[in-house]
């Protein structure tokens, strides 16, 4: 791909054609603040926090939305430019005058606070460009504009998949996870900690950041540019974490008592012994191919490897499958 040479703050920079001024600045370590920019989306240029001076342009231009061409001369700071950027920040802090206070829709996951909304359209564009769901829309004009599920319906009645990507891309707290708000204990004063790990809902291996307060999970998020998922998550990965601290969660194996039909707690040693005994009985009566093994998609590669080894070498059947294979 041909390269462009341009000058930023008096320094020559070589960039690829098609890259924006923001990319060029990032490349040479100049930090340009942004709000409406998400590298996964098409540039929007609405928030105006990334304005820079471009030689020959009548006004400052948004670095995110201006594409590089050879010979450009750019200044990322200046008396007037700094004032404009400071003022834009002050404007962004002015809260919206939307006529609604929040959505009254029935979904349990995604909430909206227009007072925090800066109308950067990241959520709307994410839902359109990435998810192609168009479950969000930008309504109204001026400072009274706000975001709502399409046609003012409940999210559950739109094509929303509850992936929560809108919450993930929101640069403010305007879109938030309702569950997190419920679980987070503000009073305790305990600061949340973030742990990076791999989601084990399926075999994709999405990198997630689990936020915890003490022993309680309070949120799961993903970082743009990290892992195979690049900040995207599915509904389960982002929102299905309340089971971790749920009182109904199984913490020991259960064996059915055939005298009264009830499931009863037992030790792992006993559970494994019972399973081995039953499997051996089936194999004896019907042969090894009378047994098939299905691994859960939530098992790790190592778990699945161990399972197929059990199937092939201990039981002696090739009937083994993992639902993550599909």
């Amino acid at each position: 791909m041909p390269a462009n040479t341009l000058m930023i703050n008096g320094k020559d920079v070589e960039v690829l054609q098609g890259e924006s001024l923001l990319d060029a600045c990032t490349k040479i370590g100049i930090n340009i603040p942004t709000a409406c920019h998400d590298s996964r989306l098409e540039a929007y240029g609405g928030c105006r926090t990334c304005l820079v001076d471009l030689d020959g342009a009548p006004r400052p231009v948004p670095a995110c939305k201006t594409f590089t061409s050879p010979g450009m001369k750019v200044e990322t700071s200046g008396v007037v430019l700094d004032t404009v950027r400071t003022t834009v920040d002050e404007m962004l802090a002015c809260s919206s005058r939307a006529a609604i206070e929040t959505w009254t829709d029935a979904n349990r996951f995604i909430g909206y606070d227009p007072a925090q909304c800066i109308m950067c359209d990241r959520c709307v564009r994410y839902c359109d460009e990435i998810m192609q769901c168009n479950a969000l829309e930008h309504v109204g004009q001026g400072s009274e504009a706000f975001i709502q599920p399409t046609q003012g319906e409940s999210f559950l009645d739109t094509s929303c998949e509850l992936c929560g990507g809108c919450v993930g891309t929101c640069p403010t707290e305007a879109l938030y996870s309702k569950q997190s708000l419920e679980v987070f204990d503000k009073q305790s004063g305990e600061a949340p900690t973030t742990t990076r790990t791999v989601c084990n809902y399926c075999g994709v291996g999405c990198i997630i950041d689990i936020e915890t307060q003490g022993n309680t999970v309070i949120d799961i998020d993903a970082q743009t540019g990290v892992g195979p998922n690049d900040g995207h998550l599915c509904s389960k990965g982002r929102f299905a974490w309340q089971f971790i601290n749920h009182p109904d969660r199984l913490t020991s194996p259960l064996i059915r008592n055939y005298d009264n039909g009830e499931l009863e707690e037992t030790s792992w040693e006993n559970a494994l012994a019972v399973a081995a005994q039953k499997l051996s009985a089936v194999k004896q009566q019907y042969g090894a191919d009378g047994i098939a093994f299905l691994a859960s998609s939530r098992c790790t590669n190592e778990d699945v490897y161990a399972l197929q080894k059990l199937a092939r070498s201990v039981i002696g059947t090739n009937s083994v499958h993992s639902c993550a294979a599909t």
Partner: protein, 422 residues
């Protein structure tokens, strides 16, 4: 085609861009997939009603101007982007197009009516709230009755029933085999739809938010095709100049309304004084009252004091006074102060901002509050000047660039700070 006679012609939609330059830019653009002509008839600038009047009285000439531009730039598609309130004009245009199709001047499929998109959560037609700068202004009469009430013309524009419902969306990949295909597109019903790139977005069925420029429509407009967007009056003057009907420099159509005896549309040379336009053309001020303030070229050009009525109505002279000729729409006030008028204009801008860029979205609303507040209390850390400058430099389109002018004019001509120091 020689268009040297357009040298004197500047766009009549407000910005005053040289017409010849724009026509040649579209002509020189690469045309692998065709080119488009758009007549911007989304006449939304408060106080302006010359475009509606032109369709009422000179519809054929406007369309002929479009045909000439199409010939010059080699375009085979054309649209008239019409303000939704102009339903009577819509019928006249359809009739005119049908006649021209019958005469073989336009492609056979011409004359269809399409619908452009507007803003969600807003009715398709404006209720004129915010436009009502003077009680029962000429604009309101005009929208309701057509031009015959204004200038005593006998031509009746109303009375025709709507022939068809608008179609949606516009046919993007249509093949035009013969001639120039001219259709009507009913506008999205918002002030910003008159901004040429917001207009194009709205025709493409999107939220009408202005695009970032460059690229300009001359190289990448409707469906990324080179597109010529001109105002109704610009096409009319182009036709008169190119046909030789008008031999001199182009004049302007002044929409004069408010507290005058004969509000209406008047043709006069650029550079005529406002006083002459009001007294000699519009029959003087109502009841011989004193003028409290006036608007020179539509709401976006701000208010001027009565002491400047003798200034020439041209861009050089008006620029000295901090403003511009705009749409050449003079609104005269005798019962409202400059501050009262400015508050209404600012509230109108706050309501009409598309909410895409921060300076316009927040700035217009905050300044509307600032002007309307009894004490003119400014609640922000950044000064009024810093906010005005940020809107002028940091906005995306002309709405945000020019809205600060309302405040600047109050300070320049009406001692706003001295009178209203908080």
């Amino acid at each position: 085609m020689n268009i040297d006679c357009l040298d004197s012609l500047r766009g009549c939609g407000g910005a005053g861009f040289p017409t010849k330059f724009k026509w040649n830019a579209v002509r020189d653009a690469s045309d692998a997939f065709g080119k488009v002509i758009i007549c911007n008839a989304d006449e939304g600038e408060p106080g302006t009603f010359k475009d509606g009047w032109l369709f009422d009285n000179h519809c054929a000439a406007v369309i002929n101007g479009m045909r000439r531009s199409a010939e010059h730039v080699s375009a085979n598609r054309g649209f008239i982007y019409l303000r939704p309130e102009y339903s009577a004009q819509r019928e006249l245009i359809v009739e005119q197009i049908k006649t021209m199709v019958a005469d073989g001047l336009l492609a056979p499929q011409s004359g269809r009516i399409f619908q452009a998109s507007g803003f969600l959560g807003r009715p398709a037609q404006l209720d004129n709230e915010g436009l009502n700068l003077v009680e029962l202004s000429a604009l309101d009469w005009f929208v309701e009755h057509g031009s015959h009430d204004l200038v005593g013309e006998t031509q009746q524009s109303g009375g025709l029933s709507h022939s068809e419902d608008p179609q949606y969306p516009l046919p993007q990949n249509e093949e035009i085999n013969e001639g120039f295909c001219l259709d009507i597109c009913i506008g999205g019903g918002a002030y910003i739809c008159g901004e040429e790139t917001a207009l194009i977005e709205s025709m493409e069925g999107k939220r009408p938010q202005p695009r970032h420029k460059p690229p300009f429509p001359t190289t990448s407009g409707l469906w990324q095709l080179p597109t010529l967007v001109n105002n109704v009056e610009t096409f009319w003057w182009a036709e008169r100049l190119l046909s030789g009907e008008w031999q001199e420099d182009a004049e302007r159509l002044f929409s004069i309304s408010g507290a005058v005896n004969k509000p209406g549309v008047y043709q006069a040379p650029v550079g005529t004084t406002a006083r002459a336009l009001i007294d000699d053309y519009a029959g003087g001020v109502t009841d011989n009252t004193m003028i409290s303030c006036w608007i020179p070229g539509g709401a976006a050009t701000g208010v001027l004091p009565a002491s400047l009525l003798d200034s020439k109505m041209d861009n050089d002279c008006l620029r000295e006074h901090g403003t511009a000729l705009g749409t050449a729409a003079i609104v005269v006030f005798n019962d409202q102060s400059a501050l009262e008028v400015s508050i209404k204009i600012m509230q109108f801008f706050a309501q009409e901002s598309c909410s895409q860029c921060t300076p316009c979205r927040i700035g217009c609303a905050e300044f509307a509050d600032y002007l309307a507040d009894d004490q003119h209390h400014w609640p922000h850390n950044g000064s009024v000047d810093e906010w005005l400058q940020t809107m002028e430099l940091g906005s995306i389109c002309g709405l945000g660039f020019t809205a600060p002018l309302i405040v600047r004019q109050l300070r320049k001509h009406f001692d706003f700070e001295v009178q209203h120091a908080s």
